[in-house]
């Protein structure tokens, strides 16, 4: 799939509202954008899609003046613009609502104050600000936008969707020509998201041009006139209405080399049985059986509810609904400590935030969750800890000066080898790895994969990744999640790029087939 029709340079006569021409952006040695060209026509809603790290955020930042592009031109209404600061973009009629809602509102201020934040912050306002004037002005804004917000409430008393509504209303009140919505539903519940869509549809009726960034196919399908897919810093496809979600999903995933490097093992007896679990309170119940002697892969786009489901199994968050059992015995972990005592352990998604202790040596990291194995009547057996760490370093080829080195001295891949390797020293009832291959090199990935294959001969393992290629590489059986539901189950060897794209492209109502060969 290649770039669509819009490769011709935009002339002043072009009808485009925004035209990107050969935009590149480099951060040090990283090329985040590698020649992006596309147009947004006035009044249309364009969906911008792509996997994590595809360059979506970077592209938006060049348009909103946060990161000026390294090269290339941004043409707005036929005029070349050089955005150096966010205020430049704002003056050109571009308003951005960033992904994290709470970056867009100021806690401790009322809704009225948040609506008029720009006015309050700029020199337009007088030195003394009277509360009554603010509320009056806010009421004017509200009437103009036909909204009904609790102006005198504190912003933190509003639900997430309410705060988002305020953030969007503030941007709309500046009469933008283009509104950028960066993953606006990522922190909203389904019902809140529905309210947002109604608001967006209202903006569309008023003729506001919208650039809508999302991971969700169904959202894009519902709201967008056109979709543009970004991969590895380049536009890989453009899609016109009616949007073909299978083609879009395939384009996001890219040329998958879906060849499992191993025979899919059938799996032995069921060790863990999960019945009626829910990723989110209002999502459908799902059931999973986890067997000895296999690696179960879990994949799906970001936001599909994978982590939320796994964290409930591992005691990181309380069980929303349903039951869990280990070898037939009821299992309901109170917390992580309880889950680990019962033999369930997780390698969390965010390595630096959830697994690493700053300035602490490798040997302390390798035994942190295994204090019982490395202590006698409460006293840590330091020599045994260091010997164990040396074993992990050797067995998993961790490139490190030694067990006394601090963890920050290692590269991401080597950190991960240690953090995964330490758990494989003993058999768990269940080992869960959430995005174990994120940000690590191919060598480390291959090594961890083969170590997991070997370990899983005896013990059950779940590997979760939003990159299906990673799942197919390591797993025997794959589950695919769409909108918090497990919609497909198959031997990973049977999965092809086409089926994956089709499954992820369609909503969850479209199919619920769990074909296990």
């Amino acid at each position: 799939m290649t770039v669509g029709a819009n490769t011709a340079p935009a002339s002043p006569a072009s009808s485009a509202f925004v035209a990107f021409e050969e935009i590149t952006k480099t951060f040090g040695a990283t090329r985040a954008l590698r020649g992006v060209s596309f147009e947004i026509r006035p009044g249309e809603t364009v969906g911008l899609l792509g996997a994590n790290g595809a360059g979506k955020s970077t592209l938006i930042k060049t348009l909103s003046g946060i990161h000026p592009p390294t090269s290339g031109r941004i043409i707005i209404e036929g005029e070349e613009k050089d955005f150096r600061f966010p205020v430049d973009a704002r003056n050109a009629g571009i308003a951005t609502v960033h992904q994290n809602i709470d970056d867009g509102v100021v806690f401790g201020m009322t809704v009225a104050e948040n609506l008029l934040l720009d006015e309050i912050a700029t020199s337009q306002s007088s030195f003394f600000i009277r509360n009554r004037t603010i509320v009056e002005r806010a009421r004017e804004v509200q009437e103009k936008l036909d909204l009904d917000l609790p102006l005198n409430s504190l912003i933190q008393d509003l639900p997430a969707s309410g705060r988002q509504e305020v953030a969007i209303a503030r941007e709309i009140s500046k009469n933008p020509k283009l509104l950028i919505l960066d993953e606006p539903t990522s922190t909203l519940s389904k019902r809140e998201a529905e309210k947002l869509f109604l608001a967006v549809e209202e903006f569309q009726r008023r003729g506001i041009t919208i650039l809508f960034i999302s991971h969700s196919m169904s959202e894009v399908e519902r709201l967008c006139d056109r979709a543009v897919v970004l991969r590895d810093g380049m536009i890989v496809s453009e899609h016109e209405k009616p949007l073909d979600s299978t083609a879009i999903a395939g384009s996001i995933l890219g040329e998958l080399v879906l060849a499992s490097k191993h025979e899919a093992r059938p799996g032995k007896e069921v060790v863990i049985e999960a019945k009626g679990l829910r990723a989110f309170p209002e999502s459908p119940p799902v059931s999973v059986e986890i067997r000895r002697g296999e690696i179960l892969g879990l994949t799906g786009l970001i936001g599909a509810g994978k982590t939320e489901l796994l964290e409930q199994i591992c005691g990181h968050r309380p069980l929303l609904s349903g039951t869990l059992s280990i070898e037939g015995e009821e299992y309901n972990p109170k917390d992580v400590s309880d889950a680990m005592k019962k033999g369930v352990v997780m390698v969390p998604e965010q390595r630096a935030l959830q697994s690493m202790f700053p300035n602490e040596p490798l040997w302390k990291h390798s035994t942190i969750g295994l204090a019982e194995d490395f202590s006698r009547s409460g006293f840590m057996l330091r020599r045994r800890e260091i010997a164990f760490t040396e074993d992990v370093i050797r067995d998993f080829q961790v490139k490190a000066p030694g067990p006394l080195a601090e963890i920050e001295e290692l590269s991401g891949g080597n950190q991960q080898k240690l953090l995964v390797g330490r758990w494989l020293s003993r058999g768990w009832k269940l080992l869960v790895l959430d995005e174990p291959f994120r940000g690590i090199d191919i060598g480390a990935r291959g090594l961890i994969s083969s170590a997991l294959r070997q370990y899983s001969e005896k013990y059950p393992v779940i590997v979760c990744s939003s990159d299906p290629e990673e799942v197919i590489e390591v797993a025997d059986r794959a589950l695919i999640m769409v909108e918090a539901d497990i919609v497909h189950e198959d031997n990973s060897a049977n999965l092809t790029a086409e089926t994956l794209a089709q499954i992820m492209g369609q909503g969850r109502e479209a199919q619920t087939t769990r074909n296990v060969a």
Partner: protein, 338 residues
């Protein structure tokens, strides 16, 4: 980054000196200072004077070790001085007014310190109030409560309550804490040494100590590794309050009376000792040995300077210089973070 770590450490002379100063600088200064005072002031180096110094350091060391424990979990206990004052008053009143034995008085005093720890835990762990703010409010609460409890007056033998003279007095056991000795080592030094050993063992050699540091280093990762973060934070504040109460009784036994708010100045002294301790052996984190050195350093410095007729009113300044030097060592010479 990973590959640079593998290269043989080929450091320049300046880098090596920096490393040496970072690790041993403070101990070297302490050693030189002791040598200098010993040579110039014959009395400084005597056993008796050494005991004076250690006795002066003992109370600060005990409170400081409590602060150290609360700092390992990433907390900060501003209420240690108030906890000291409360347990002094509780123990003194138990003996003077209640005419209890010394053992009971000590137990009552310790319970008072632990109660402060419980209050802090409730505010911090359950009510989720930030450590500094929570312990600041308990500082005022406890100090106020102590004053109201004794009607604003000192508790001493023969004090008058409601027109009646009290009959109780400080018992011999209690007095021993302040003036007794073991093989001519003052009892307070023995107590401080015992506390030091216990805290060192707890923090450095047990799984619980490992958990304390893990909670302080990264509470999210600690929880993900199966550590019950809330329990360790509660334990840390209980230890902090408990050690403050022990220090309080050491102080009360020395003066044989319970004066109002005598614990207050020990808060800043103890915190400063714990912070100076960051620079000892390049630890760059709260540690028991460092805190002990921090307490002894100040005591030795002031003891020596007094022999040179250094004015007492300049002591704060000297302590400030020491703290700044120690902090400069940990923050400017420490390994640079990426």
């Amino acid at each position: 980054m990973g590959t640079t770590a593998l290269k043989a450490p080929k450091r320049s002379g300046i880098e090596a000196t920096k490393q040496f100063v970072y690790r041993y600088g403070l101990l070297a200064v302490l050693g030189l200072m002791i040598v200098y005072f010993t040579v110039t002031q014959p009395f400084f180096g005597t056993f008796i004077n050494a005991m004076f110094i250690l006795q002066a350091a003992s109370i600060v060391a005990v409170v400081g070790l409590g602060c150290t424990v609360s700092m390992t979990v990433g907390g900060f206990d501003l209420s240690v001085g108030a906890a000291m004052s409360l347990s002094i008053m509780a123990a003194a009143a138990a003996m003077v007014v209640g005419e209890f034995s010394g053992t009971v008085a000590i137990l009552i005093g310790m319970c008072a310190g632990l109660a402060v720890g419980v209050l802090n835990s409730i505010l911090i762990v359950y009510a989720r109030i930030p450590d500094l703010v929570a312990t600041l409010s308990s500082l005022f609460l406890i100090n106020g409560l102590t004053l109201m409890g004794v009607g604003g007056q000192s508790v001493a033998k023969g004090m008058v309550i409601n027109g009646e003279r009290t009959q109780g007095e400080f018992t011999p056991l209690f007095k021993w804490i302040g003036s007794g000795d073991v093989f001519s080592v003052p009892a307070s030094v023995v107590i401080a040494a015992t506390v030091f050993i216990l805290v060192t063992v707890l923090l450095n050699f047990t799984r619980w100590g490992r958990a304390f540091y893990a909670v302080g280093g990264n509470p999210v990762a600690a929880a993900a590794a199966g550590i019950r973060v809330a329990r360790y934070r509660i334990a840390a504040y209980l230890i902090s309050g408990g050690l403050a109460s022990i220090a309080g009784m050491m102080l009360a036994a020395r003066s044989n009376r319970g004066d109002v708010n005598v614990g207050d100045p020990f808060l800043l002294q103890a915190v400063s000792a714990a912070l100076v301790g960051y620079a000892v052996l390049g630890a760059n984190k709260p540690n028991a040995f460092g805190t002990l050195i921090g307490a002894v350093f100040v005591a030795a410095l002031i003891n020596g300077l007094t022999m040179f007729n250094f004015p007492y009113y300049a002591q704060s300044f000297v302590q400030g210089v020491l703290l700044v030097v120690a902090l400069l060592m940990s923050y400017t010479l420490g390994p640079s973070r990426r």
